[in-house]
Symmetry: D2
């Protein structure tokens, strides 16, 4: 939760929202009871007046426009569910999901910032560690690139602008067999889960978009047999999933984030009544959401994997009898 | 259905499988009755012996490996649900979904081949027409590129290899308001639907991966007001969705397909018992699945939009009272 | 909510739990925003010590036994989700559902106590009014029977025992067409919803169990035509549903409640370790849950009808074009 | 399937519909592959002309009226999904569900006819065997009552009328722990599943409607401890479920069936255009559906239990670690 929190470093939103979770149900004597776990956070640093400009003018590139159209009403104070605050619950639930996955499979999920604007860090995802990720406020595990990214984000902040980038994620110690073969493929559900995070624009697995220019004989991944007799793909170009089902190799995914829509720079647009206007954001927003997106990406991957663990576990013992 | 059919041109699999649908239920006097529509196709050109090599050796990059691990059994004759034949039902259902969308919104869904291997066609998706797409067996609406792609696919076929590429899709006459604001965002569900198609490796919306290198002030899309007083985004960089809800602009998506896993070229791999072996595919497979993927992409988009139409329609009249 | 509240009269549990709902989300300027409505109640009259006897000995006929077996842990303080307190949320949500049904169809849902122990009130459900129901603390709309029931409940309270009975429910101004034809029949979903209320043992619709001894020629319900040309069943023996779909006639249902499991009378049983013991309930429990069950029954009917309204509304306009 | 088949004895519908199932998918070398099992039956004895009377006049007490209203179209030939033929699929799937339950828990599910019209057989459900049930065409395991029921059904057949009754069901060798504690209680799901069968009017568990007249001290069921130290309820008045979760005791349920709506006796009613008319059923219908309902009841119980087995199995190992 602390990794997602606003105000944690100088390059994210300076809002000092306490993210403390009050747990209202589901825990008794430090154990889950099977009842739903309800958690509540109270925002002690709300400044609704920061959002008053958005009462009559929707932010370009922002959900206010579509919310208003769909629901005929828009709670402009804070942005409602279109705010990044909504990810609080995802990260809370993801923390529990991670514990379950660690216990049943030994799974580790590590997301990291791979690119900010045009700075692309040369990273082997299979070697990324949580420690390296947390070594920089950017959450880029490549120290030199992290420095450059930080400088670039500081600059965007001063300019009142925002930056996009790419978050990568690797999942280690994956079991074979998670995922369903048709619509609920493991990677299909991961794509949905990751795309459901605010500001995402593309999702890739394995070679991703680069697969377009490869031949079958290059992209195919022959099997090999370990000394213990275990068969597995040699190079994992597929990124850990074959035919919608996990192959036991590391899961390798990438998510593109657009630059945040809410910026300080003046923007010429029209109000909800169609009047030409200049909008200047006054709120305390993220110049680059990627460092705070890292724990959200991990959470969504964890929740998807736990769902598939439960689903697979429902029948797999029986299937294998 | 004819656009998905094997054997339609020289650059797809030569299997002559009849795709004729026998409709067993749900239609009475040319109208739907509300009962499920059950359709059946009988394969008159099955050659199970083509698949006998896969009984003991899984194809590199193919689902056989994970199916075997998950279910402890694998129907190697044809590949079962991991075969591209599985998309028959998607295209059948998608045809009905398209009719509904056309009737309630006037929606048109057009997919097209945008890239094969390293040939990238310079296409403005907003101007693509079905006629241009169908003008070439490649389903690339750019005539010159289509020619080059065709030659490249013929070459891969001769080499016993396969090619990947990119399918683009544009949806015209979109309504405002489809999609849910948190997990079931319209684009999240589209990403899942498209990723659930065989051989896909990345999905993008709007500027997609290119959004990573843009600034907020560049990517943001100010609103403008039409003469009729309608407010809408000026440039549609978002690709038709804001905050998970359709903005009324054209939906713009891109899907990367890997080169098909099943190739004729010999591949050194190990059998299911771990024995080193050379696998040579004997089946009649697609050297490049993209031309046949086009109708499947359209179908999955149509099904996702109909689901959201039904969902939105359930409560929207009430919300707007 | 006040009709469900503990402590409302002398014949229900004397616990003074405030049922005040704090609404945390989903409402802005007195309108729903489309976001989930989250409501919270804080229990100001909890006496966990009342439940200490149940730490080591499960109440006969109570869920403690199965919760312990299923989850390996049991929060004995208050009974967790097996407590009748759990219905607070049902009644809260049901109040909103009733508003929607009133607005879209003019529907009225009235439940009432029809029987307590062996006192069966002769009631025509089609004539029951909310005013008559609320005229007595028993919520039996038949004044004389209500008096006898009240006396009987007082007696059970003194004896430390509990009583069962029957709640009837009538739904007026039903539309034709709610319900699905196979598994999700309207009455199937109503049976599930009503059976999900604590302490219920049977559910009936229309002639219910009495249908067993009727002939087809007696039970069948010929159609008649009104002056306005509307066709409808003459006698509504079916209770408002034909083939799983509402016929437009009044919905008529009955639910049997067992006597509450938690009583003060000593009971010889064994503890969770198998030791013979005498259990004496010390808590402040309902001698007869039926008066407080009435609003819960109404809520579950309302929620089921709203679900089917949304479902039917999703496609019915299209079907009828 | 043979127990559900029409034409099996003289007291059910004489239609000679072959119920032979053609299995189209999901089985390979006598094992399930994890793919859906699709089965098809072709009706070789359809006589659509038997249903021509229902083209313009709906049968009193039958679903034709509501289908027409909901869908604006009605396939009167055979009755579509409102026909008892629809249960073919339930019994097919139930047969597989029974096999799974037998394998994982040793569960036996036995339904039987307990009452036809006013003949109530004195039966201890815990002692009913499949052999006794199948000893009579009525499927009543009490020989003398079975004889009387048979005579009564023959008489109704001659009169062109129909009879109702009660089917009981006992499930032996139940595990502890199936069912969810709030909405998806095991008995709530069973009530829905049983009510979804055609012609059902009430469902009861344990003491059912009789619980209304019992006191808590009578209905409660103290626990006892077996020699092996296992704790269980002494008398199982609850019918095998406490708080929505199975207690390990026999499941005991009862379902009331109304007399079939389709009868030969002339009925005065109005046509779909409101014209007064006399309807005479010409089809080959069941004078009493109960003997054929027995396998359907078993199937719906089996399917519900398998659903809960999968659900419980998804997390129970983890919960108990």
């Amino acid at each position: 939760m602390d990794r997602r929190r606003p105000g944690q470093t100088g390059i994210v939103t300076p809002r000092k929202e306490s993210d403390m979770a009050y747990i209202l149900s589901g825990i008794f004597e430090n154990k889950t009871t099977g009842a739903p776990i309800c958690a509540l956070a109270l925002n002690s640093d709300a400044k609704s007046e920061d959002y008053s400009a958005f009462k009559l003018t929707d932010r370009p590139g922002h959900a206010g426009f579509t919310y208003r159209a769909k629901y005929g009403i828009y709670d402009y104070r804070g942005g409602g569910r279109s705010s990044y605050r909504e990810t609080w619950g995802r990260v809370f639930a993801g923390a529990i999901a991670k514990k379950i996955l660690k216990k049943v499979y030994g799974i580790d999920i590590i997301a990291y910032v791979n690119q900010v604007a045009d700075i692309v860090a040369p990273i082997d995802p299979n070697k990324v560690t949580l420690k390296d990720v947390e070594a920089s406020p950017t959450r880029c595990p490549h120290a030199a690139c992290a420095k450059s990214m930080e400088a670039l984000i500081e600059k965007a902040k001063v300019e009142g602008d925002s930056l996009g980038g790419v978050v990568g994620v690797v999942v280690k110690n994956m079991p074979v067999g998670l995922g369903e073969p048709v619509f609920d493929k493991l990677d299909a559900d991961l794509f949905k889960a990751l795309k459901s995070i605010h500001a995402t624009k593309s999702v890739e697995i394995g070679m991703g978009a680069d697969a377009a220019t490869m031949k079958g004989s290059e992209h195919n991944d022959p099997f090999t047999s370990s000394k213990a007799g275990e068969i597995h793909p040699l190079t994992n170009k597929a990124g850990g999933v074959l035919g919608g089902i996990s192959s036991g190799e590391n899961l390798l995914l990438r998510v593109t984030f657009k630059p945040t829509a809410t910026i300080k720079k003046p923007q010429v647009t029209v109000s909800v009544t169609g009047k030409k206007t200049v909008l200047e954001g006054a709120g305390r927003h993220d110049p680059c959401v990627l460092p705070r997106a890292v724990p959200t990406v991990e959470a969504m991957v964890a929740l998807t994997l736990v769902d598939h663990y439960l689903r697979d576990h429902a029948y797999s013992d029986f299937v294998k009898r």
